[in-house]
Symmetry: C2
Subunit: 338 residues, 2 copies
């Protein structure tokens, strides 16, 4: 069986995550049992939620166990199969983790899914036509409930979720405004992703200043806000929410290192009669088929042109992940493993 | 026409509201026009929302205009009518304001409603079978969506809203826990209002201590929380929320004087996948008939025995109102005007 390199969680972060929290380990892939499939990973997905799992704290996800391979989404190719539904050469998406190969019990519901790469590149099944895309779809469609002519705002606008959000929101006839860090990302958001406007939060020292910029970009106020970051950005958006506005809370990356991250004016939830709802897309599997169908169609027709930041080789994964947490990626962050 | 004493808003509060913000004014009731009804008020309702209207800030309600009679709910008796649907002697509920009489345009939809005092005392139409009761009903039924065996928590538990909340929540088979200020209120909550437990927040110096008391009173966690106060109490409840918990935000009385009132751990909205929703019951008139029917039945059958704090005479209204804001009332705060 082939040699398999893995990245384990070696220690839990104290404050900011460090490269030393990870360890590169050599192992061998085991002999397949009946019902199992050996997958060679082509791409590993890096996502902000992984930072939360590195903590030992109560959270929605089980903590990542120490001394084991980091969990994560992967796409790849079946190299050997002892399951009737999979054959060598099949392109598949699964949760293979931070390693070059995985052995998957294919009888486990949802563990492995065959994908069609005729119109959609394989890597996009980790981004626009995968978990991040479905995340944008669920938050927008099920929580923000957009209506034609309303204004929808998303933070981390050029990331995998934000990119998909823009295409989905524009397709519903909404003014769509992004918040991102730096002029390059903001220009790209408007020129390539279809945002009507994009605000560079790095130009603002405090929430009040950022909030004024949001007011300018959203002259009719904000009806729906998709939150990926929390902290100052949420404080800046909240005063711009219209009555009966909706906020989908998908991520609070600003607080993943454990620092306090208070919300300055929760009374606005009352005075503006807002709905603020947290969600995790993996708890809503029933909407995935509908969401993936729309996302696949948007990619195939060129309405959604997701950008990817690709690190090369498994050993590059930790640095790429730490960069993602600081917003250094530009589009969906992947690690190419072949 | 009879002499009519009124209380006007004389000035807007700077920080805490003061008696000097109000002015007692003498006037005369005008001659009735066609379609108008003259009502003599028996009781005036005092409610926390009135404090918000005293500010000139953007809020859900229009600010109370300076130099005009304070708005507010009233019950009373028709003394003269030039409208075919009302006759002298009818008992009515309306928004007559802080005055002894009001002239009502009875053609205006919802301005005046006849009530039946056979089984429900007139004053209760300002409390348990009025706006506060319907407020509890809407928040519980439409936002907290209680299921049998779940745990529902309410702050300001012995107030008009909290009292009705207890009866409605117990009727739905929920463990029902109150938060109130002082041993008398807590004892009353359990002995008379049907709460399974009541926590005295005044015994706790900080949110962490209060939160431990909530954990003890809610061994299975909190599924629904009805928020009347905000601040430390909300910070204490939030960490006790179960996954997919709901929070109905009805009031943030702790912040009405303008001091900052941050929420310490908004990230819990994400990690516990909470829904936090603000509402104002007057924007949901479609549910009033159903809610009033249930509340009237609970009162008539003795399942809901609301307590009232009654101040005597219009001149006593400002001090009673300021006491309400500090939690000095015990049950629904009214002013008796006859």
């Amino acid at each position: 069986m082939p040699n398999n390199r893995q990245i384990h969680l070696a220690s839990r972060p104290v404050g900011e995550a460090q490269a030393s929290n990870f360890a590169l380990v050599n192992s061998e892939t085991p002999v397949l049992q009946e019902g199992q499939v050996l997958v060679r990973h082509h791409y590993l997905s890096l996502d902000p939620y992984m930072r939360g799992r590195m903590n030992d704290a109560k959270s929605y996800a089980q903590p990542q166990p120490l001394g084991q391979t980091m969990g994560g989404g992967t796409v790849g190719e079946v190299v050997e199969s002892r399951h009737g539904k999979f054959n060598a050469g099949d392109k598949v998406v699964g949760m293979g983790g931070w390693q070059e190969y995985s052995v998957v019990d294919a009888n486990q519901l949802g563990a492995l899914r065959k994908v069609d790469t005729t119109h959609v590149p394989l890597s996009h099944y980790l981004g626009a036509v995968g978990m991040p895309g479905v995340t944008a779809w669920y938050g927008l469609v099920k929580i923000l409930a957009p209506q034609v002519g309303q204004t929808m705002v998303v933070s981390a606008a050029t990331g995998a979720v934000g990119s998909a959000f823009a295409a989905l929101s524009k397709a519903r006839g909404c003014r769509t405004v992004g918040i991102a860090g730096g002029p390059d990302k903001c220009q790209y958001a408007v020129a390539e992703l279809g945002f009507d406007a994009c605000i560079d939060y790095k130009l603002h020292q405090d929430a009040a200043s950022l909030s004024r910029a949001i007011a300018e970009a959203c002259p009719a106020g904000v009806d729906g806000y998709f939150e990926n970051v929390g902290g100052m950005v949420l404080d800046a958006v909240l005063p711009r929410m219209n009555a009966f506005g909706r906020i989908a809370v998908c991520g609070m990356i600003a607080g993943y290192d454990g620092q306090p991250l208070p919300l300055a004016y929760p009374a606005l939830i009352l005075t503006q009669r807002l709905k603020v709802q947290g969600f995790i897309v993996s708890e809503h599997m029933e909407i995935w088929p509908e969401a993936l169908k729309e996302l696949g169609s948007l990619v195939a027709t060129g309405q959604l042109k997701p950008r990817e930041s690709i690190a090369q080789g498994l050993a590059a994964a930790p640095e790429a992940f730490l960069g993602l947490l600081k917003g250094k990626n530009f589009g969906k962050q992947l690690v190419k493993l072949i």
